[in-house]
Symmetry: C2
């Protein structure tokens, strides 16, 4: 590790902020992390925040963790619970497993708070390991103002600090981003979707066992709304209800109403969650809104860059929010390494390189709500999954299912994944037409013309 002259401030000590700090420190940059909130390690009471959906770490996230420090990756991922597929729960209480990959590949359930704590500990470790403060963690340190000159000046708690550049990792409502807009003509878009979420939980069983299979992401798909559950290390599950705001505000505004709703819509889930927990959750838990954010450019000169949700907040339905944020870190570090023409060029290349991929994953995440809540029970969806599996087994890398490319193949960019999937669709459409033509051609030789006439007339009516 070469020591660097440039100093860096990372704004936000969440998952992406911590990984950025660790990565930059490993590259030799002395890093100061400014985190608005307190240190989560001191806050035992808040075990399992009510507003955070459980996370699924997959290939892109793991790849980035390993890129920064392989041994560290194994440490922080120690408690993950692999999920090799979705478990679909129907109204009658039947369960059906749908595998994510073709070869048992898994995404991995992990508690957001636990992971954050481990990454913060790694920030302390790196200081011990290197015998000097490479990552200076400052909690209760809000970004109050930002000035751009020769250096970047940060005002926080009345104090002023100077850095060579800053990395904004302060989430969907990023203060860094809104302050950067005074310095750069930034295109910006935020869009709420008409879906609200309420956090629930499924306790461990009486003998400390998992009440449903731990190695699946559980879905109760009901078309317009759905319930999901991901396993925790303590054998409980974090469960989340998603539904349209209108439904939640009208029919799920009290615990009592929610209980009736769960009795009719999720009877098997209700049994394991328990009546009291449902009533209490819907009486007390906040209703969460889901928003997409994207901007362009992600950087300002060689002074500032935005990573993770601060640059591109997405809805949680592809399980890629954190994975994509970690990938941001990996790509930025790679570009800083590679760029011979300085940081400004590296930042510019980052925006250029990342723009299409980020747009792509935002779209995929949005579309996946329909897949999880609705399509997973469609025979066409299942048939398509089978066709993909068959073609992939035959053609290998030349025919990878979309889910595989996004979740298990971090070497393929999100935009490239969409391009390939669109190509697959075009090919299937042509094959479909070919198959239909073959059937028609075959039938035309066997069936008299008068019968054909009647069939076509009926189809047209």
């Amino acid at each position: 590790m070469a020591a660097r002259n440039e100093t860096v401030a990372v704004i936000g000590g969440g998952l992406v902020g911590c990984l950025a700090a660790l990565g930059l420190a490993r590259k030799g940059y002395p890093v100061t992390v400014f985190e608005m909130r307190g240190d989560p390690r001191n806050d035992v009471a808040k075990q399992g925040s009510l507003r955070s959906i459980n996370l699924a770490v997959s290939d892109r996230g793991i790849r980035a963790l390993k890129y920064v420090d392989e041994a560290m990756a194994y440490r922080v991922l120690e408690d993950i619970i692999p999920m090799t597929g979705r478990m679909i729960h129907d109204l009658a209480g039947n369960q059906e497993s749908q595998q994510y990959g073709l070869y048992g590949e898994a995404i991995n359930s992990i508690d957001r708070r636990q992971l954050n704590i481990r990454l913060l500990e790694e920030c302390e470790n790196i200081n011990k390991e290197l015998g000097k403060t490479m990552v200076d963690l400052r909690f209760h340190s809000k970004l109050d103002d930002l000035k751009m000159g020769e250096k970047v000046t940060i005002i926080s708690n009345g104090e002023s600090f100077q850095f060579d550049f800053i990395v904004g990792c302060d989430g969907a409502y990023s203060a860094t981003r809104s302050k950067l807009q005074k310095h750069v003509r930034m295109n910006y878009k935020q869009e709420y979707i008409d879906t609200c979420y309420v956090e629930l939980s499924i306790p461990a069983g009486p003998n400390g066992e998992f009440l449903i299979d731990a190695n699946h992401l559980h879905i109760w798909p009901r078309h317009e709304f759905m319930l999901i559950a991901l396993a925790n290390h303590d054998r409980s599950f974090t469960s989340t209800f998603f539904g349209p705001w209108g439904l939640v505000e009208k029919n799920l505004d009290t615990g009592a109403k929610a209980l009736e709703f769960f009795k009719s819509q999720f009877p098997d889930a209700l049994k394991i969650i328990g009546h009291e927990r449902i009533v209490s959750a819907f009486d007390n838990h906040p209703r969460g809104a889901l928003m997409q954010v994207n901007c362009d450019p992600y950087h300002f000169s060689d002074k500032a860059i935005l990573l993770g949700d601060a640059a591109h907040s997405m809805v949680p339905f592809y399980g890629q929010g954190m994975n994509c944020g970690f990938e941001d870190v990996r790509i930025l570090l790679t570009l800083l390494d590679e760029s011979s023409s300085g940081r400004s060029a590296a930042f510019e290349k980052y925006t250029e390189l990342r723009k299409d991929d980020l747009k792509a994953i935002l779209k995929l995440a949005l579309d996946n709500y329909k897949e999880m809540s609705h399509k997973v029970v469609s025979p066409w969806f299942l048939l398509r999954k089978k066709v993909d599996a068959l073609l992939c087994r035959t053609l290998g890398d030349r025919w990878l299912p979309l889910y595989t490319m996004v979740s298990f193949r971090g070497d393929i960019g999100y935009a490239e994944a969409i391009r390939r999937e669109e190509l697959h669709e075009r090919i299937l459409k042509k094959l479909e037409f070919g198959a239909l033509a073959a059937v028609i051609f075959g039938l035309s030789r066997l069936v008299p013309l008068t019968v054909w006439d009647r069939v076509i007339k009926r189809l047209l009516n």
Copy 2:
């Protein structure tokens, strides 16, 4: 005029804010206007701000002014200069007039600052006329905070004020809008275009005369960039250069470079602007950015609504920014009048009704840059204009050119104007094909097949 119990705050005392205040006062609402800046009437030095493009008031704007108060409309529009067409200046200095309407209809050049001052005077007039303060103008009054409860609380200059509802007319960088986002899940988009503008001016002639025709909007279209000029009442012209940021930052970053550029690109304009003015303008005037903003919804419950640029800032190329903002005021007032089920329903209907129209005008404004800078010299554009004129003269209201619908027919919504134009285009496409087919058919009878063969082969190569 019936007296109302509800009190209103209008945030922003610009053009749209003033008209909203006047309109609401006429409906009986006592209005307080909070304007961040000082009173422009006290600021004689700033005659003709350097960052404001001259405005063209057209049917929608005039309609809204008259809706609020017909006599007032005549007073504030006293000094307008009608422009019945574009004057296209080519490189050789030739001028060609292109009429906007079929029957001499005009858009009208007006000085933004002058109009603002007149509208502020009208706010004082209404108080005198009614013998009580219906519009209370507060200058140097920034919106510092906004609290929503039974009433809306505004914090400004350390004081706190309460109102039944507020109307945000505080422009593209609206503080009302950003504070409202804490109370409503607001979709929001801002997008910069890669065009920069620099304000210039053409003085009156030595005998106080207009140096070019006053009744045209002058354009020097050069495809990638352009110069425009609109007449002022004092016989000068406000002129604006528009071009890509890259060009301006690289080739027009100093007055000396700009002078060389104008010599080669706008020799006739340079003659009337003068060398010194060009040098001084490009050495000293700020470079302006152009941004589009749109959001959804435009309101929060029955407490707040956004009008004008605060809700939808557009690029200036259709001359509709102010006209559209004035139309906002007219439509809001009409809905408040009509709504029997209260303000909340009126605000909701406003968002619903206005959404498509505002999206439509944003798109039209954006597309019109290409029309002004490039298409106006295309023979296809001129041919289409002639076809439109011919069809409109024959079919009347059933075939109105797009420009006529947008600028001269405020009774047709922007979205409806686009729909009709798209229909016209589809019809023309079919007619084109029909005409082509007729020609081919005719030729096929006259020309031997071997000749046809050769023609088609050549076309395909």
